[in-house]
């Protein structure tokens, strides 16, 4: 197990990227941090800068105006770049997929490693999703992706 993997398993720093969501998924992400669910006890921390993040928690459909910005955020992220799509919007476009301003869903814009469906998914589901993602890596970092 590489050093990166070892430290990733113990302390996952997440960055929240909302690109055209109804902000309900976003609130539930924040909710994970507050006393009821208290993610920080597992070493999962929300960071304000993408350059510190291991995982992007992506919500929303990716609107046209956000498209380029989402790509830029992804490019600034350090390896291993892990992305979790949270909510029906981020996974498939959800109820908004037929709209003219839809440039997503997320996996058409940036590579996505895990999907957590639900509208919005419960905080428990989100925690479960991130844990499963880390377990599925099996001690190996994902293969380098071509940008």
């Amino acid at each position: 197990m590489s050093l990166t993997m070892f430290s990733l398993k113990k302390s996952i720093w997440v960055y929240h990227l909302s690109a055209g969501s109804c902000n309900n998924c976003d609130i539930e992400i924040l909710d994970c941090l507050t006393p009821r669910f208290d993610l920080e006890r597992f070493g999962i921390m929300l960071v304000g800068s993408i350059r510190h993040a291991d995982v992007i928690l992506a919500t929303g459909i990716v609107t046209r105006k956000c498209l380029l910005r989402v790509k830029r955020v992804y490019e600034q992220m350090p390896a291993p770049k892990l992305v979790v799509a949270i909510g029906a919007c981020a996974c498939t476009g959800g109820i908004f997929r037929t709209g003219y301003n839809m440039a997503g869903p997320f996996d058409r814009v940036i590579p996505v490693n895990a999907y957590i469906p639900g509208c919005p998914p419960k905080p428990e589901a989100m925690i479960d999703g991130v844990v499963k993602l880390i377990q599925s890596l099996n001690g190996k970092l994902p293969a380098k992706k071509v940008r």
Partner: protein
Amino acid sequence: MASDKRTIIPIGPFHPLQEEPEFFELYVEGEKVVDIDVHIGYNHRAIEQIGQRMNWDQVIFLVERICGICSTSHPIANCNAQEDLAGVEIPERAKYIRSIVGELERLHSHLLWVGLAGHFLGYNTLWMWAWKYREPILEIFEHVTGNRNHYAMMRPGGVKRDIKEEDIPHLTKVLDEAERKIAMVTKAALDDPVLAARLKGVGILTQEDAIKYCAVGPTARASGVAIDVRKDDPYAAYDLVEWNIITQEAGDVFAKAVVRLLECFESVKIIRQCLDKLKKVKGDIAVKIKKMPHGEGKGHHEAPRGETFHYVRSDGSNNPVRVKVRAPTYVNLPTCKATVPGESVADAAIILAAIDPCYCCTERMMRVMDKRGGKVELDGNELVRLSQEKTRGLRKQLGL
């Protein structure tokens, strides 16, 4: 429009903490903000257009997803519009249930705001507290409606689910508990000398400006404009129960906080009375709307942030021809043109947050650049740090 002396601080568009991306440009001269620009549209999801392709029932689901915090306000407003169009009156029991869900939402939304405001000011304890006491309310939601958010309770002609008789004692209990906790948070926040020093007289929106900018909701009520569609044009059960409009005269950030906190108690009052009435009023919870006639309908609801207005037009078919939405933040946001200029950079964060657009500033795109050298001087975290430092300084000054 920026002159040579001005520096531009871009804030946004991505807020890592919550809510939709918005983009603010602050024009600053030294410490002082002289002008502000707001760019919105990052979150535009073409809802009105999608709504025209859906049938009347689906539209309710769609408008529910306009905003995650006001996720029952838009359905209520849209149901009001559709009922106005179809000319039906909903059963009395449905009215009470609508009001209960609407007010529960106000409770959780105001608590959410209090928490975030605390975070901006460096009172993270207040944030954790407020959000902790918000959880039981979400639990009631899950109990009554089946989901923590996006309740899907409303339907044109009434409500989808009934509140069962045996659930009422449980709801009352949780409500009592929540009220006690909110009282504690209110007292802690309003009696704090540092918060008072930090917020009083900051970001004043005069009554005249509030009317000029057509402000709605707590933003207007904190400036002494007693505007509230629940009283002005009652719908649901708001004319069947006793409650008061909370107003404050000062118009500053503190007044807005007071209005929101005191409104929580009014909400609790409304919910209690509605639950009592539910025990007596039996019957259907919805009437069937057979056919949508030609014509137009309008409906509104006092969302936690102010009046949300919906308009629908029908050609007698299965789909609306037009769905129009006007959300409260859209009229409240421009008031920052009146409140932010003249204040210091450290205060900008909380003033912008005071209208509750849910604005966060710990972002990678917020930068202060030295115009000539191109050097980055301030970023998003810096802005929050400045704000938090000011509180700390004040605390020291007051000897706390």
